[in-house]
Symmetry: D3
Subunit: 219 residues, 6 copies
């Protein structure tokens, strides 16, 4: 903890001054355009990764970057409702990552008696091992983990669609969903392309859309 307190002092004495104007403005209110949902994993720094400043990303983090199917009694539903209906974000990114311990736990569950809450939480990702077992019966463990991380992101995007504020935003065309996977060892981020039905590098387009695929109402 001493290290953190030293960090706070360093931030305040050396860093804050140069960003004072930003922080004073931010004290008046936040207007982020993006909700960023990622894992609690210590290796992820969303602002570093996207080179964004305070005020730009509304960030929800939990073990495994899960979004449970809508249930009005969950913290995730409340945080998403706040982001969309109170703040008015226009994009929601679900960002998984390589070497995710929570996804590893989906594939190799920990003992329920020692991890009762985690065991229940992983049930939210119950379809991921079903899909893997069915689609990649022969994959080796490393490849399986990579695929599981991707499938897990896609499942959370499906789950997001059951949240009323998300369903409403999609129907009106003023909200977009994005699935990303961050590879810690290379710094790369891959985005899901619904047309190609696969993850690929995120590229910049001249027309200002970035690589964000259009989010379509689907059956």
């Amino acid at each position: 903890m001493q290290r953190l307190v030293e960090g706070l002092h360093h931030f305040q004495s050396e860093i804050f001054g140069s960003q004072r104007a930003l922080f004073e403005r931010l004290a008046l209110g936040q207007r982020p355009e993006t909700m960023f949902i990622t894992c609690a994993d210590s290796r992820i720094d969303p602002n570093l990764l996207t080179q964004t400043a305070p005020g730009e990303l509304f960030i929800m983090r939990n073990a495994g970057n899960f979004v449970p199917p809508y249930n009005p009694h969950s913290g995730e539903a409340a945080t998403i409702e706040f982001a969309v209906a109170a703040i008015g974000v226009r994009d929601i990114v679900v960002c998984g990552h390589s070497h995710c311990g929570a996804v590893e736990a989906i594939l190799d569950p920990p003992p329920p008696a020692r991890f009762p809450a985690l065991t229940n939480w992983l049930a939210n990702a119950e379809s991921t091992p079903r899909i893997l077992r069915d689609k990649y019966p022969e994959a080796d463990p490393t490849r399986l983990l990579n695929v599981a991380v991707q499938e897990n992101v896609l499942m959370q995007l499906e789950n997001l669609r059951t949240h009323p504020v998300v369903a409403s935003g999609l129907a009106q065309g003023n909200l977009n969903l994005h699935g990303w996977v961050y590879k810690i060892e290379t710094g790369e981020v891959f985005g899901y392309d619904p047309q190609a039905r696969q993850f690929g590098p995120l590229t910049l387009h001249r027309d200002g859309e970035g690589a964000a695929p259009p989010a379509a109402r689907s059956v």
Copy 2:
């Protein structure tokens, strides 16, 4: 979104190279010593604030930095269980902040019909307005919000104690809890001092304990 994709490209081409060794090491595993629980608010960057690098903070974020009382079916319980029992963090910081929209919503609830999930979520902080009403009957709104942010952090610390892995860590003496409040407009962070029963500046001690107060078993 284009802005984010540009940021990703900038991170990868300009920043990642200088930290490659760190990230390659981190790809082998995370060993953070601290769990940091804070609000999803876009204005908070925990790594910037504490001047920590990737790998140092296991971060849970939701609207209002709430920790519901233990219930084995919540995502918060699973994330805390993962942090303490799987990763082995030694400190848990609950960090509230000035101008918190979720705490404002505790004091001035949004319409339940439009915000059903948020309304349920705020019920987790139900004791905060009770305490305020009883203890600060005459406070003006600004002061009330500041006090509410502090009381909200203290309530989450109580709630943390009902999580079995936290109760066990406290009983064994290998886990410490800390309550912080971050003031966005000045960059200051205040810590709760259980001896003094109030929040105050976090100071550095020579004996290596920082300002982190000892977490005691209480009745």
Copy 3:
């Protein structure tokens, strides 16, 4: 009730004999290929409508033909899991209908004190009025009800995708989802066409696919 008992006697003495072979075969086991989810409304007879015999449709019925987002503690999840993983159905039809009292109750909610369970149940369709309010702000009541019935069916299809056995079946390509609306007064049934993004008459194709649109994985 006397009427029903008379009906049972009539069925047994006049009807059963001619179908004895079918029923004796069915006693050995059911192998329906389709799960049919529709409203409890008395005006719907799924077997009459589709001219199917006993043994062909596995039928789940409740007020409003709702499929709550996956939650392993609901009867709907259990019935769907049974249909897909134990029986092996290949198609799931969600069939709404004109003049649906449950959808009317979504648009014009009954008093919660008298209808507490129904009020909670309608919360599952919470996104329907949000979407209607946003997309059809000027529609007259009759048209609004028709549109609400359609949107309600589409929302249930999204919710179905969060059920692990459904997600797995879709990923493997051996399950298809279909959205229908039955118009009681004309006997017509309209199917959702994901390409055209609208409901239209169900037509017969020469290639043996019927009008059932392909169910695609979507983001």
Copy 4:
């Protein structure tokens, strides 16, 4: 699916015309006097069995014809509340059936890891195997299944009594409950006789009561 679409076309072109008057009248509203709760099993056609027309039976179906004890958050409670308090049905029939896969699963539970939702759902029938184990310790499997189907129906009748609208209807004397078992291979239906405390053939009485036994308030 093609078969179903052909069926729809056949219904509309060949059948609907002769019942047009009925369907046009039904479009104005439903007034069924009976709620019929039965299994989702494809082999049951309630309208065929009771020789009733559209508009006569309000039908709830799920795997096992279960009625969970009252809980205001279940779909079953909402559907029952709608039937009794909004529509005003006078009779509720719970109809089990021979060879029921859900009751077989009560006696021989499927693997929880593959059937998590079904496992939870069967817990609603937890008393059935307890009663069987205690009352029929020596029964062979076939007889045990038949007895389990009967006990399962009786348990659902007890559970129905905990639903407030049912309790109120029974107390006022304007609602009656009936337990039936349908034997697929013979077309017979057996009704529970609370006086005799056993299931027997449903017989017609001259006095217009049918075989429906009086539903009495009991301790």
Copy 5:
């Protein structure tokens, strides 16, 4: 509290000695034959009322002597399961009382914002006001409260029947249920007589059955 500590000292120095043998024997185990469910109300002393000694009554108490319909996640279900399946009680008494504050709250609900948990809890007795409204539309408040206390006891008996260990015990004939109402101001206790369908004085029978009515399986 000083009063209680004085009481403890008095008990130990003046009372315990004369009952030492009983308490030493009880330290080896409890074998109560009766589970007594009553209100947390301070005016009720079950052992005084029934003139029983320690070891004779297994006692569950909560606000309103409620038994929620079976739900395997409630403390009431666990306590009942423990009493019947682990201890083996033969009788369960549900004992309501005159002037019950919880039953008053059913008839005149407190503000939900100040009493959120109580409001939810009273929903368990939701059928009581429905029955009263329907059956006693003209009763004056005092009479209404007395009738509500009785109806509340009867509803809890119905709810008890949905608990699997109770259903099993009743089916086997080795468990009996009893409904009582205790009138504080006169010391009288009235028992429900299912034959007469009303509460009446509990009388002693020569044949050793007391006034406890036989608990019959009902439809």
Copy 6:
């Protein structure tokens, strides 16, 4: 049961008369100053133990004297809310006891298939075995049970603090919490002393505070 009915008659004919004035006064209302939470165990008679009369203790009892962490849908939360916010008790005692069968079940869990509700209920005490395993790895079973009873009481005190009405009462300083353990075989009661961090004999102080330790807000 006959024994109980005889007891009721004896109470009414021999005992009630001498306390008529008390009971008639109590019929006008209860004003207990203490809420007493203890086990349903038949060997505990709270009024005998504390030598208190009817009207002095508001008593909640369940298997194991558990207080689940706050959850607005539990009976325990409702009963506590009623005690503090409606009745206005000033002290809450959680009283465990020697030879507690529920605490034994924490240490040696019963088979979940036979005790599903109890298994879930014991999960509320999940931290107790974790703490014991960590702090007393070598203790023999008898000592372990004694320690477990104590730790269980302390955990319930932590859980109590998450109940909003308790948190508010503590913050205002008008509510005190007390942890007791009752030793059946000796009649002794031990109280938790937060200063000494251990249980000890409850002693009388001249200053009128009894041995009740001050309940302090803690981090």
